[in-house]
């Protein structure tokens, strides 16, 4: 175990990316993720890597596309409106089967909004805000350590499934500091070689073409099914979640990222008060941990989903639980002073506890 440092979540993302071998960063300033480019601008050029503050978020995602097409681990980071602008590029990356990490340290919205912790980009991330039907990996860290670990995981999954990965967090997890342990990283030995990457032909006989255009009869349909199968494989193998107190739970509280952290304390309060309340937190939002929800709702038929929005993930929860389970929702759309307290969520637990079954 290496020494633990006190590190902010945003910095942990940057450190995780460097640890995973990412040497190409492209971004455009936006609060509350500016620590990431600031850190990268200082570190990457020292390492002989690329740091570009691009002219826009659109340019950034396309530079990422270019660097990734060359077979290198590369990333961009931004926040909600900037991520909206990247949607076309994300769709192209997905269509071109390119890996790459896109970090969204969410702002509140819609429109310009503010910089408060928000989870209102769940739909955009998980249901894919770009056009044309594709999927991306989406991870939702809830701690500084996870900001680091899931950044690394994202690069690995992204390479393995040739699919862009999104890391979805907000200013709570991004600006909070916690102890971070830097685990040594080694590239998984079973990652497929990037035999699709452009290098210049280098006397290869075949051309390498990174593209999303398939005009031959039936080609595009087949391409879509291929992407779909990959997403299905991801669903099968890569669902991740954190559960606690699920065995005897009469009510399960769920949520992701920052809301989950607050909810977890509320669950502890409930347990202290002698209530049989469980906790289930999706770590991967895509693939959504359907199996964990299905399993947990074999016995527990009452759920409470907490989000910093008017309700988005709750739809996936409803789609994942056993048919006869009830899913209640409690949301606090973001804005100055709108972060719920554990006490507030505990009150919600009390309200719903015992109502089911």
């Amino acid at each position: 175990m290496s020494e633990r440092q006190l590190v902010a979540g945003n910095i942990a993302v940057a450190m995780g990316a460097l640890a995973a071998g990412c040497r190409h960063y492209f971004g455009y300033p936006i609060t509350p993720q500016s620590d990431i480019p600031a850190y990268m601008s200082a570190e990457l050029r020292k390492l002989g890597g690329t740091f570009i503050q691009a002219e826009s978020e659109i340019a950034s995602i396309n530079m990422l596309l270019g660097a990734s097409a060359c077979g290198f681990r590369a990333m961009t980071s931004s926040s909600s409106p900037g991520i909206s602008l990247k949607q076309e590029g994300i769709s192209y990356m997905a269509g071109s089967e390119l890996p790459g990490l896109i970090v969204n340290i969410c702002r509140s919205g819609p429109g310009l909004g503010g910089i408060d912790a928000s989870q209102a980009d769940y739909f955009q991330s998980v249901k894919t805000g770009g056009h044309g039907g594709y999927r991306t990996i989406v991870v939702a860290p809830a701690s500084v350590q996870e900001m680091y670990d899931l950044t690394i995981l994202s690069f690995d999954l992204s390479d393995r499934y040739r699919m862009p990965a999104l890391l979805l967090a907000d200013s709570l997890v991004g600006q909070m500091k916690e102890a971070l342990e830097l685990k040594p990283y080694t590239l998984p030995s079973d990652l497929p070689a990037k035999e699709w990457a452009v290098t210049g032909k280098l006397w290869r006989s075949d051309q390498r073409i990174v593209k999303s255009l398939y005009l031959g009869e039936g080609e595009l349909e087949q391409h879509n099914w291929k992407l779909w199968r990959r997403a299905e494989e991801l669903k099968e193998k890569e669902q991740r979640s954190e559960g606690k107190y699920l065995d005897d739970a009469k009510l399960i509280v769920t949520g992701f990222g920052s809301a989950a952290r607050i909810a977890k304390t509320a669950v502890e309060m409930a347990r202290e008060a002698g209530m049989q309340v469980g906790f289930l937190r999706p770590i991967t939002l895509f693939p959504f941990p359907e199996k964990a929800f299905a399993e947990a709702t074999v016995s527990c038929k009452q759920l409470l989903c907490v989000e910093l929005s008017t309700g988005q993930m709750v739809e996936d929860v409803r789609l994942s639980v056993a048919r006869d389970a009830e899913v209640a929702f409690y949301g606090r759309p973001p804005g100055t002073g709108s972060l719920p307290t554990p006490e507030e969520l505990f009150a919600q637990i009390q309200k719903h506890y015992g109502k089911g079954a």
Binding site: H24, F26, T50, I52, A54, E55, S56, I58, A59, S60, N62, M63, L64, L65, G66, A67, S68, A69, C70, F72, A74, E88, G89, Y92, S96, V198, T199, G200, K201, L202, W203, Q207, R208, I209, V210, K211, S212, L213
Partner: protein
């Protein structure tokens, strides 16, 4: 007998999808000539844009990345920074480069990105069926300027080679045409020079090529070729606008 003209090696021996008389094919050949000339086919990564030239990879025998509409310069920036040892070029139409991609080309030039940018100006959106482009001439009719471009409402044709030349990061900016053997020879030289700038790490090199689109101009190839001379060149003067030594 000795062969004095044949297909360059970098150009695949296939038929193109271009319309009869469309000069995209000719410009492709000149680019392939330049790659052959410098012997860089095996190191070259092309960045295709969205327009009639989207099938770049079907014609050039090189590695290619397809960029979203207008974003080729950003994609090329990512490629060249990640693989500085490679030879990178972009190939964009006037809708792609001078409308939706204005920001990307200007900032790539301004950063002095070390790649070669080819710009095919045919005063129209060829692929989408002939809408008004940023370079459509005053009075020119198109699908979206049925009464002809009205500069008071639609603005002025953009002279991109001049705009790009004005940026500090640009090393080379030139405008050529391919409507006559003489102009073609000059165009070929300019394209070679634009590759040379890159290979010598001199920075951003930009070649605007005036080209014809017989289909959307509603003309046959000869009339379209004539229009390049009589209407385009007078507005888009040929010449070298910047040449950093």
């Amino acid at each position: 007998m000795k062969t004095v003209f044949s297909r360059p090696a970098s150009l695949k021996d296939v038929a193109t999808h271009f319309c009869p008389g469309c000069q995209h094919g000719l410009i492709h050949r000149l680019v392939a000539d330049a790659m052959d000339h410098f012997g860089v086919q095996q190191q070259t990564i092309g960045v295709a844009s969205v327009g009639c030239s989207v099938f770049l990879y079907e014609y050039f025998d090189i590695d290619v990345v397809e960029a979203p509409h207008g974003r080729a310069p950003a994609v090329a920036t990512g490629v060249k920074r990640a693989r500085p040892e490679s030879c990178v070029f972009t190939y964009q139409g006037d809708g792609d480069l001078a409308a939706i991609g204005t920001s990307e080309i200007i900032h790539a030039a301004n950063r002095g990105e070390n790649f070669t940018a080819l710009f095919v100006n045919n005063t129209t959106y060829g692929m989408t069926g002939g809408q008004m482009a940023p370079t459509t001439l005053p009075g020119q009719r198109s699908l979206t300027s049925p009464e002809g471009r009205d500069v008071a409402l639609d603005g002025y044709p953009m002279r991109m080679a001049e705009v790009i030349a004005a940026l500090d990061g640009t090393a080379y900016s030139v405008r050529v045409a391919v409507n006559s053997p003489k102009n073609i020879l000059a165009a070929g030289k300019a394209i070679k020079k634009a590759f040379e700038y890159q290979l010598e790490n001199k920075g951003f090199a930009f070649v605007e090529v005036l080209s014809s689109c017989p289909t959307n101009w509603g003309m046959d190839a000869l009339a379209a070729n004539e229009r390049v001379e009589t209407e385009m060149i007078p507005y888009f003067n040929l010449g070298t606008f910047k040449e950093r030594s």
